[in-house]
Symmetry: C2
Subunit: 406 residues, 2 copies
């Protein structure tokens, strides 16, 4: 083709010059025949309660045609907001529907947060390494990032959070590290939020995937008690993000934000210009799913399945990768996080050689806003069965050997 392109000559918005498209690379990699993909964060489709959801879908449309097929309120289906407010209320935190906004997935929650809080150059204090999707969501707002290191103490938190628009955390089985943040650190984060007047985001997609025991209290609950228990509906600094994606099915794209009413009101304005309202059909389905206790019904077998796979992955790592990498066995979530013993081992390079060996992993650089962290890897254990996980690790070991030989 030698004809000149008729495409308009203008450039795209400036943030696009500086974006990564590694998620697209993962998805494209998914098309390579024979590849084992342990890069993503995908559930195993066998955990979806499809028969029950098919029935719920049909009944939702039949019983609520105007609600499921029409436009709904910007802030979400009132009954769904009430159910969520009730499920998250506790001895510590009292919630009303005014504390709840329904979002089209947890990812949209992150997008809306960026819209309402970030102007160009504003600071985000982000748990480091940071969930790739959060970096993607905020990049169009052009913030700058400070690394919030959760192994630090309360004084460090205050220093990092002071002047930031918000702090971003994934306390339960963080993406990418899989780490469970202990109660003492949670209390220090809440203390620092109060001292600095900074919003504190608690992103919690993985809280239900706890394989080894109960969880510490939520930041949301801790902040309601801090410094003294609050009377009335929640009005504190925590912005809690929940989702159905990991506990039922991502295909419904249903998430929720729990926050102070003033924050919810701002988020509604951003929601209005983002997609007007979330699907009435998937919202009604979410409402029936929560009311029927479907999450609790499917959870035990989901935990059994994923616990076995975590153990299989870690056993394979012990066998094949222990000379070169360190890792902790995660108590929950979907990922094992590994760091190279030798920081010169470049995992961006390992990612590429891995594709040649037919295994796809997530290199650590994508979890760093500046792309400088290049000696870590995130491995997923929820999508593939035990033998595929073992084979994936063998391939990764071969790729490591090839990388080190140069």
């Amino acid at each position: 083709m030698t004809t000149p392109s008729p495409l308009p000559s203008q450039t795209f918005a400036s943030w696009l010059e500086d974006t990564n498209d590694i998620t697209k690379a993962f998805l494209a990699a998914g098309q390579i025949p024979g590849l084992i993909n342990i890069a993503g964060g995908l559930p195993d489709p066998q955990v979806y309660p499809a028969a029950q959801i098919a029935d719920i879908a049909a009944r939702a449309v039949t019983d609520f045609p105007a609600e499921t097929l029409g436009y709904g309120p910007l802030d979400g289906l009132p009954e769904l907001r009430a159910v969520i407010a009730q499920q998250y209320s506790s001895d510590h935190v009292q919630l009303t529907p005014e504390n709840v906004l329904i979002t089209t997935s947890g990812m949209q929650g992150l997008d809306l947060l960026g819209k309402v809080l970030l102007d160009e150059g504003d600071i985000v204090a982000g748990q480091f390494p940071t969930y790739l999707g959060a970096l993607d969501a905020w990049r169009p707002r052009k913030p700058s990032f400070r690394q919030l290191l959760l192994q630090s103490n309360a004084l460090d938190f205050v220093e990092t959070m002071r002047g930031a628009k918000f702090a971003y955390t994934v306390p339960n089985f963080s993406n990418p590290t899989g780490r469970l943040v202990p109660e003492s650190t949670r209390r220090a984060l809440v203390e620092a939020a109060a001292e600095t007047g900074t919003w504190l985001v608690e992103d919690d997609p993985y809280g239900g995937l706890n394989y080894d025991g109960p969880l510490p209290p939520r930041l949301l609950d801790l902040s309601a008690d801090h410094p003294t228990p609050q009377p009335g509906p929640y009005d504190g600094p925590v912005i809690y993000l929940g989702t159905l994606s990991k506990l039922i099915a991502p295909g419904l794209r249903i998430g929720w934000i729990i926050a102070a009413p003033a924050m919810i009101q701002a988020l509604i304005l951003a929601k209005q210009g983002s997609d007007m309202c979330t699907s009435g059909l998937t919202q009604r389905m979410a409402c029936e799913i929560l009311k029927a206790g479907l999450i609790e019904q499917v959870n035990p077998s989901m935990l059994n399945l994923y616990r076995k796979r975590r153990d299989a992955l870690c056993a394979a790592l012990d066998k094949h990768l222990s000379p070169w990498f360190d890792w902790d066995v995660p108590e929950g979530g979907m990922f094992v996080w590994m760091t190279a013993k030798d920081k010169r081992l470049n995992t961006d390079d390992l990612f590429k050689i891995g594709l040649e060996e037919l295994v796809c992993v997530s290199p650590s650089s994508v979890f760093d806003a500046e792309g400088r962290f290049t000696h870590g890897l995130r491995l997923n254990f929820t999508l593939n069965d035990e033998s595929a996980l073992d084979e994936a690790v063998r391939r990764l070991a071969r790729a490591t050997v090839r990388l080190l030989r140069g």
Copy 2:
């Protein structure tokens, strides 16, 4: 309550200082008992083919559990993209799935466009008056607006579009004016886009609601032929936005963008950080709806219903409001646009008095990025039946008399 608020002290992003929340006011107004709402752009729920959609929903989950309940590709379900590419291909324009992105509603299409094209201060040449939702979608990007007046000629278009990031048009039964843009004007817009190298957005939610006859060719088709017919997949400057919302049901939140592959690739990056992917369930349902020809099945009765209501509204206007307002009978869409004979008649004030008279209308100021156009009104005729429309106009006439008496 005298306790100090524990809310963080930081301000929100700067665009929120300057936003309007009239859509929220409309929705809140919907709660006033006895109010007749002719402000929105809502379909009548009786047009939704609920029984067929309930069946499609259940079969979608049963037959495609992993696809409907799991994560899908960023750019959308391949089969749905192919169906849309095929349906919009013609003697003039040849489309492939690479020309198509699925969006979570037409509104998300507008949001994504703003993300990929607008930096602060960039210029949008917007058909004036401008769809409120588009203004909402772009406000977080802080563009400036030039008024694109479609009654003008090609020379004016070139002047208005030169240096703009994109031109925004709703050629079929524009929101708010209901006007059908004639073919000569469409050709002039395409000509101006080619001359200035500016993207040309064709937002088309209402194209199927043509009560009085066939439509002129799409900008998409005209631009494929300009200056000479293009070989191969579409690679021109038009960005076409479609949606199921007005022709089947808004509750599915399914829209699509058709554009040059380079634009689609940029939009995918924005989509990734907005909601990752559109619901697999509602996408599969959209695919089955399109393949089954459900739009064509329901369209004749929808047109009959809405045509009668348009005629009833216009008859009531003739009877009750002709002393003070001018309007054209729209050939399609959902709205009648009225302008006051006396420009000093302030429709923001009329909106408020109207609420007291239990009728809710859309004042023209919300369709002006600067809020200065204050002598117009947009009235909807699709949601209410003939007698309610007549009563609404009587109430609006009473409100007008009260306003003029001061």
